[in-house]
């Protein structure tokens, strides 16, 4: 009950924040501008629109996840709203889970709005039944999963550091997570056993965000653009991975936050 109340309030806080609208507006403009770009590539307009549209959803979703995620806990500490909140009959884990759930709801609504923008752009060009837009869904779903993971990362950092540092940490992990597979390849190439060991440890430790972008070596956004089918089993395994990784990040956040002194 307390988790839902905190999540509801976090959602309301985000919805009343102007930054959010700026970011969504920007994303929608990007999606629409894909139409103009599509004109340059005769016969491939829809593919370009889908490609640019989904990339915009991914990038702006990430910006929302990072910038709102890092300030989630910090704002409560800086403005001391956390004092009166934690004096209420709530556990600290409820606070962390409520905050996370609230931001997840915000992201869900944003991704939905941006996806609708993309679908409307495609529909406005005529052709294509409603069913054909469903091909976007696996890509949108995986983008959302990667955002959920990014949010959990941002939340973890915000439990012990300042927003600026949290942003740097989160972006570092986000970028490193995209090149995770290269790290493994890099380890294989090297002759030093200890370096190979380090590469392997980092590969398993860092979030494997590249997993969310490509399935069986095919880029998920490209698959959507070129009407290629996506293996449901692979999507399921990525979902399980995201769930476990987020759970570990949230447990860490709770462990740190539960031990904190509020000076």
């Amino acid at each position: 009950m307390a988790i839902l109340a905190i999540a509801g309030n976090t959602f309301r806080e985000n919805i009343r924040d102007r930054i959010l609208y700026n970011l969504i507006l920007f994303a929608i403009i990007m999606i629409f501008s894909a139409v103009a770009l599509g004109q340059l590539t005769l016969g491939h307009e829809d593919k370009i629109i889908v490609d640019l549209g989904l990339s915009s959803i991914s990038i702006f979703g990430m910006l929302i996840a990072v910038f709102i995620g890092i300030s989630l806990v910090y704002k409560e500490l800086e403005r001391r709203t956390v004092y009166s909140l934690l004096a209420k009959p709530i556990h600290r884990y409820e606070f962390i889970l409520g905050k996370y759930l609230g931001l997840l709801c915000t992201l869900f609504v944003n991704v939905t709005i941006m996806t609708l923008g993309l679908v409307l752009t495609l529909a406005s060009r005529g052709g294509g039944e409603f069913g054909s837009y469903l091909r976007l869904m696996p890509a949108v779903y995986l983008i959302f999963l990667s955002l959920a993971l990014t949010t959990a990362l941002a939340l973890l950092f915000s439990t012990f550091s300042t927003p600026a540092l949290s942003a740097v940490f989160t972006l570092f992990f986000w970028v490193a997570g995209h090149f995770n597979r290269d790290l493994l390849d890099f380890g294989r190439l090297t002759e030093s056993a200890s370096f190979r060991w380090l590469c392997n440890v980092l590969y398993y430790l860092l979030p494997n965000i590249s997993n969310f972008n490509s399935i069986d070596g095919r880029n998920i956004i490209q698959s959507a653009a070129y009407h290629q089918s996506v293996d449901p089993a692979a999507v399921m395994w990525i979902s399980v991975y995201a769930l476990l990784y987020c759970a570990v990040l949230l447990l860490l956040s709770i462990a740190i936050f539960s031990r904190r002194d509020f000076k």
Partner: protein
Amino acid sequence: MAIIEIENLTKDFHVEFWKMRPVRALDSLNLRVESGEVFGFLGPNGAGKTTTLKILMNLLRPTSGSARILGHPVSSVSMRTHIGYLPENPYFYDYLTAEELLLYVGRLFGIHRLELKRKVAALLENVGLADSRKLQLRKFSKGMIQRIGIAQAIINDPEVVFLDEPMSGLDPIGRRDVREVISSLKNRGVTVFFSSHILPDVEMLCDRVAIVNKGRLQEAGALDDILKVKIEGYETVLAHFDEAIAGELKKLCDEAIIMGDRLHLRTVTSSQAETALSYALAHGAKLISVNPIRASLEEYFFQEIGAHKN
């Protein structure tokens, strides 16, 4: 029954990372607050008042010692259903309206929706914010924030309320409003524990006080007991006197001043006052009042804390 029990509470802060020796903010504090009391917690800035309150609210963990509220350890979450807390210089979510904040807090206490609506309306009326219920808190004045802060602290009908500097930064009307809220809580049998700098308010409200300085308890007890030892003399006020009586009384007292139709006599001892009074009454004067002259809490505060500082 003791509502709040604090035993040997000590809190050290590591201010700077490279400094090995911590700063001691609280040093073996012992306190007991009984049911239904209004308890004043006094001390200068940095005395350890807010640290104590934060330990009681489980926002800080003590270095050693323990504290219990309503018989439960301060870490108990269920105990917090029965307490209220107003932090120092409170700040609430400024994107919420007054009504939304109280509804949110009420939900955290698990108050049923219908009951909550009724309660929020009554509370807003109670703290004089009914007209501003749809106003976002970012547009609230400091006094209004303090009032919504008190409202959120008592929404659960607590058995004990903790108020950290509830009068600080308020104008006289705001202070009077807060005093009235505290008085009404006391009348309802609620135990109130509040820290303050504003001593006249403490004198008006508190049954007992504790004075802390540099993390140590200086004194605790009924206000009268703490101040009784500080009686500096007696003031007797008389009417219906003539010049001759006034002249004679001046010899018996340390000081005699005529103000309008009143004669104010000051004596150091009570026996001096008795002698002067019986002489005056025997010669036809009328007694208006006899009062002990004692240090105000403020003077006491300056003397005690000043002495410790030196």
